[in-house]
C-alpha cells in the first residue's frame, strides 16, 4: 500500500492514538448510519401510543408485526417495487443503446456538425432539471408532432433520461481514450462501424458501461418530482412516490413499515454487490 497523509512510521509511533481514533470512528459511524435504520425497523413495530411516549423506548414493548403486513398489503408494495425496477431496467437499456451509440458516433465516426451537436448536448448540463420541469411536463402531456400523451407510460421516464449529456460525455471521453489505430485496423478488415462498436469498442468499455448503468439506476431510484408528475396513477407509481402518496392517509408506523420494506431490496443488493458498485463508481467517475 502506498503511503497516505500519515506515514506508516508515524502510525506505529501513535499506535494507541490510531486505535483509539479508529474505535471512536467505528462507534460513531455505526450510531450515525446504522442507528437511524435500527430506529426505523423497531419504530415500525411500535403502537401509536408507544411512539408518542416520553422518553422514547429503545425496544418495542409490544411488537406489532401487523404493521408490516398492513404496509405490504395496503400499499401494494410488490407492485411499486416492480414498477421501480422496471423503470430502472428500461432506463439502463435505453441509455446504454442510445447514449453509447451517440458517444461512439461523436468520438469515432465524427460526422459533420458532430461537435456542434455535442456542444448543444453539453449546454444542457448547465440547466438544472427544476428549471425545465414545467415545459418538459407540457411536452410529455402532448408530444410535439405526434400529439401523444406519455403520462403514465414508462417512456415518460425512459426517453427523457436518454437526454443525459453527462453520460454521453463520460462515454465519449472513454471512447476517445481508445486508440484510433484499433478502429482503423478493424475497418481495414472490412468490419462495419456497428460491428466495430459491438465487438471491439464495447468489450473494452465494460467499466464505463457499468458506471453509466449505476448512474441510470440511481437516478430512477432517487428521482421524485418527475415520476410524481408523469406517473399520477397509483398503478404506475414508483416506490418513493407511492410511499409519499400513501403517507397522507395512513398511521405513521405503517408508513415507516412500508419504508423499511421498500428499502430492503436495494440494501440487500447493495450489500451483495457492494465491492463491484464501489469500485465501479470510484474508478469510473474519476476517469470520466
Amino acid at each position: 500500500m502506498s503511503r497516505t497523509l500519515v506515514s506508516s512510521t508515524q502510525l506505529r509511533r501513535g499506535r494507541v492514538l490510531y486505535w483509539g481514533l479508529l474505535t471512536l470512528v467505528v462507534v460513531v459511524f455505526t450510531l450515525v448510519f446504522l442507528g437511524p435504520l435500527y430506529w426505523m425497523v423497531t419504530g415500525a413495530l411500535k403502537s401509536g401510543q408507544e411512539i408518542a411516549q416520553t422518553p422514547p423506548t429503545l425496544f418495542p414493548k409490544d411488537p406489532q408485526f401487523g404493521n408490516y403486513a398492513d404496509a405490504w398489503n395496503q400499499l401494494d408494495l410488490a407492485k411499486l417495487l416492480f414498477n421501480t425496477v422496471y423503470y430502472a431496467a428500461g432506463a439502463v437499456l435505453f441509455q446504454l443503446v442510445l447514449d453509447t451509440s451517440a458517444a461512439y458516433a461523436l468520438s469515432k465516426l465524427r460526422p459533420a456538425f458532430g461537435n456542434a451537436i455535442l456542444g448543444a448536448m453539453l449546454a444542457t448540463l448547465l440547466i438544472p432539471a427544476m428549471v425545465l420541469i414545467v415545459p418538459q411536463y407540457q411536452t410529455v402531456i402532448d408530444l410535439p408532432v405526434l400529439n401523444l400523451s406519455l403520462i403514465d407510460s414508462p417512456f415518460a421516464i425512459w426517453l427523457p433520461m436518454v437526454a443525459n449529456a453527462f453520460n454521453i460525455f463520460l462515454l465519449k471521453r472513454f471512447f476517445d481514450s481508445i486508440p484510433d489505430e484499433i478502429m482503423a485496423a478493424a475497418f481495414v478488415d472490412g468490419a462495419s462501424p456497428l460491428r466495430t462498436l459491438w465487438s471491439i469498442i464495447l468489450p473494452m468499455s465494460r467499466p464505463i458501461l457499468g458506471v453509466v448503468s449505476i448512474f441510470a439506476v440511481t437516478a430512477v431510484w432517487k428521482d421524485f418530482l418527475w415520476p410524481l408528475l408523469v406517473m399520477p396513477h397509483p398503478e404506475t407509481r414508483t416506490i418513493s412516490v407511492g410511499i409519499y402518496a400513501f403517507a397522507a392517509g395512513t398511521p405513521q408506523n405503517v408508513v415507516v413499515a412500508a419504508s423499511v420494506i421498500a428499502a430492503l431490496p436495494t440494501v440487500i443488493i447493495f450489500l451483495i454487490f457492494q465491492r463491484n458498485i464501489m469500485s465501479g463508481l470510484t474508478t469510473g467517475s474519476l476517469k470520466g
Binding site: M121, M130, P160, A184, T282
Partner: protein
Amino acid sequence: MALLTAPAPAPVAEAGVLKKRRKLHDDLTGHGFLIGAVICFAVFMWYPMIRGLVMSFQRTRRGVTTWVGWDNYVRIIDDPSFWIAWRNTFTFTGLALVLGFALPFVVAIVLNEFRHAKGYLRILVYLPVMLPPASALYLFKFYAYDPSEAGLFNALLTAVGLPTSEWMQSPAMTMPAMVIASTWMNMGGAVLIYLAALQNIPGELYEAAELDGAGILKRIWHVTVPQTRLILALLAMMQIVATMQLFIEPLILANGAGTQDSATSVAYLIYQHGFFQNDLNGAAALGVIMLVVLAAFSAIYLRLSTRGDS
C-alpha cells in the same frame, strides 16, 4: 470514415467526386448512430428550453392561450413568498456547502488513513444512499424531528442536558434540520468520489512535505487540497446546482411550506404555482428566473476559479 480519410493517406487513384460521396455516406452513418439520442435531446431538452421561455410570456385560460408580456414575471416576483423562497434556498445551499460538502471531504480523509475496518465504514456511509429518499425523510420526520419530548433528537438532547428544539416547527431550525437530513442521506456518494481522488495522490508528495517539516494540517492544506482541487471544484459546483433545486425535503419534512414559509424553496414554489395554483405559466416564468440566477452564479464561480489559477 472521417477517421480513415484524415490520418491514413487516401489512395491516389480515388477521384474527388467519389471521395465526396463517400464522405456524405459516412456522415449519414454517423448520424444514424446519433439520431436516437439527438431526438431525445430535441424533444425533452432543447424544445422544452424554448417552450419554457415562450410559456413564461403567455397565459392559458380555458384552453385559450394569449400573450401577456411580463405579467407572469411581475406576478411571480410580487408574490410575498418569492423572496422568502430565494432566501431559504440560498440558506440551504450555504449550509449544505459547509456541511454537505466539507464533511464528506473530512470523512474521506479520515477513512483514507485507516488500515482497518475500511470496507465496513465505507458501506456504512453509503448505506443511506440506498434508501428511497421518501423513506429516509419519513424516518427523520416521524422520529428524529418529532417536536415533543418523545422525539429521538430531543430525547438525546435531554439526555445530555441540552435544551430541546421544535425542529421543523421552529423557523430558525427548519433549514439546518433539512440540511442534516439531506446530508445524511446523500453524503455517501461524495465520500466515495473523494476517497478515489485521495488514493490517486502520489505518496511522494506527502513524503516531501513531511521532510520539509509540515505537520498533518499543513500537509492537508498544501498537498491534499491542491491535489484534489479539480474534483473539489467540480463537486462543489454540482452540489450547489443540486441544492438549489431543493424540493423533496421541504415537501416531506415540512409538509411543503413549513411554518410561515420557513421551508418554502424556489423549486417548491414552482411546484406550488404549477400544480396547486393551476398556474403553469407563472411556474415557467419562475423556472426562467431560476435559470438566470444559476447562470449568473456559474459565471461568477468560473471567473473566480479561473482567477485563482493565474
